[in-house]
Subunit: 235 residues, 2 copies
DNA sequence: CGAGGGTTTGAAGTGCATCAAATAGTGTGG
DNA sequence: CCACACTATTTGATGCACTTCAAACCCTCG
């Protein structure tokens, strides 16, 4: 349910009902654009299922991935406070169901409910911390370390030896998300196998020792596994 | 005055007076630490004068600069919503005067004034956009372009030919802020001279043609000079 | 089965980092 | 005002990480 989302936690029944009555749910096919940079958007968005890519495109056509979102993640909310022109594009990278809530209703709620505006502040603060960490990664971690860190964030905090996880989406997308080329990603995986016991076969990954992997990655980061201070869930 | 800051715009006289009565102004010397990562901070901060560096340090001692702030910029506000543990460190890079406002008062204001919480939301949204752009720069622009972009942001939007500006702080700090080494910075300046007409002597810079420079830099970015969508002032 | 996208591999090139040393610039005390 | 120490910046030589381009491989799905 959308009420799981941090944005809507603690809202009253009537507030939730009002929201619900104005919500629209829409399906997007694989590679379908949800909105484009500079669009005047009229909703905030919530992923009910599927995967969504947020990105921006440079003047001469290069793409930079801002985030990749899945169930229970919100996006488009930056236009709540500012003009409605959005500074990035959004695209479904596979068949996705998206909940859309009109900006007008969100703004109403924002001025009437301090609970909601607190939620919004929490969301933005969490995102900011996460982004700060990401900038740190880009400038201080090398490619294998960034991948290792990405994998660690797919683990549970109590995972230890011989952990199996599945890559959530295409390798080339992960590469792009982590600021490297697909070829570099592929080669970096080999290095991770040799130096940190990470075995990849297709889309499934086996981490022989989480401790070993985090030792390999987290020295170049300001926090260590399980990175409790940067919660990424449900945002 | 601190009332210029976006955070406090539109507040009532009594609200401002209350804030003022709880504010503390403090001087920090060059290289003096204001707070350290994981400190339990008890205030939000506002630069009245001087320069402040926000940074984080990795487990094995590397430093990543998050931001460099000056007059009328706020920091430390991320702990308003979350626990009081802060995820970065702050240091005065030269003699600076800092205004400190107790978190407790800020939180009171946040729950009593919807104007204030809107301001806070605006601030965080602006910061987020700025940060997104920064990640884009790190992955898509090369060193000379990042420097050029940095210089362009020191220009006024109506600047055109033969613009003179002063570097706001040490070259090595700018380098670090832009995610490169001091040596790379130095060499990149030569490239900017040859390819974009940027002449540097000591701390003063002459840009022979803003158009030429922005042509050199902004192709690898999702927006072009004067980058109106990413306001950095007074934040 | 065959087409087309995703992934891997190889060879070569580029940009940035590193290390080391020279130079410029700044502040200090005599 | 100069000599010295100290720091910031520049320059050179070299190495490594990542990219680029090209080709092979491997899946998946019609």
């Amino acid at each position: 349910m959308f009420t799981n989302h941090i944005l809507f936690s603690g809202l009253s029944e009537p507030e939730l009902l009002t929201l619900k009555s104005h919500m629209v749910t829409k399906d997007f096919g694989k590679n379908e654009i949800i909105y484009l940079q500079d669009d005047e958007i009229k909703h905030i968005y919530l992923v009910r299922s599927g995967w969504v890519k947020l990105f921006s495109e440079t003047v001469d056509g290069e793409e930079s991935i801002i985030d990749i979102l899945t169930t229970n993640h919100a996006f488009g909310y930056q236009s709540v406070m500012e003009g409605t022109k959005i500074s990035h594009s959004a695209e479904a990278i596979e068949k996705s169901t998206i909940i859309m809530i009109p900006l007008s209703k969100v703004r109403e709620l924002l001025s009437s409910s301090s609970v909601f505006s607190m939620n919004m502040l929490k969301l933005l603060t969490m995102k900011q911390k996460f982004r700060d960490r990401e900038v740190e990664h880009l400038s201080l971690q090398n490619s294998p370390q960034r991948i290792g860190c990405f994998l660690l964030r797919l683990c549970n905090s109590d995972d230890n030896m011989n952990v199996d996880i599945d890559l959530p989406y295409d390798k080339s997308l992960i590469a792009s998300r982590l600021g490297m080329k697909a070829e570099t990603f592929s080669r970096a995986l080999h290095k991770l196998k040799d130096e940190a016991g990470v075995h990849v076969k297709g889309g499934s990954v086996n981490i022989s020792s989480v401790a070993k992997l985090s030792e390999y990655c987290c020295g170049s980061c300001s926090s260590s596994f399980p990175c409790e201070d940067v919660a990424e869930e449900a945002i």
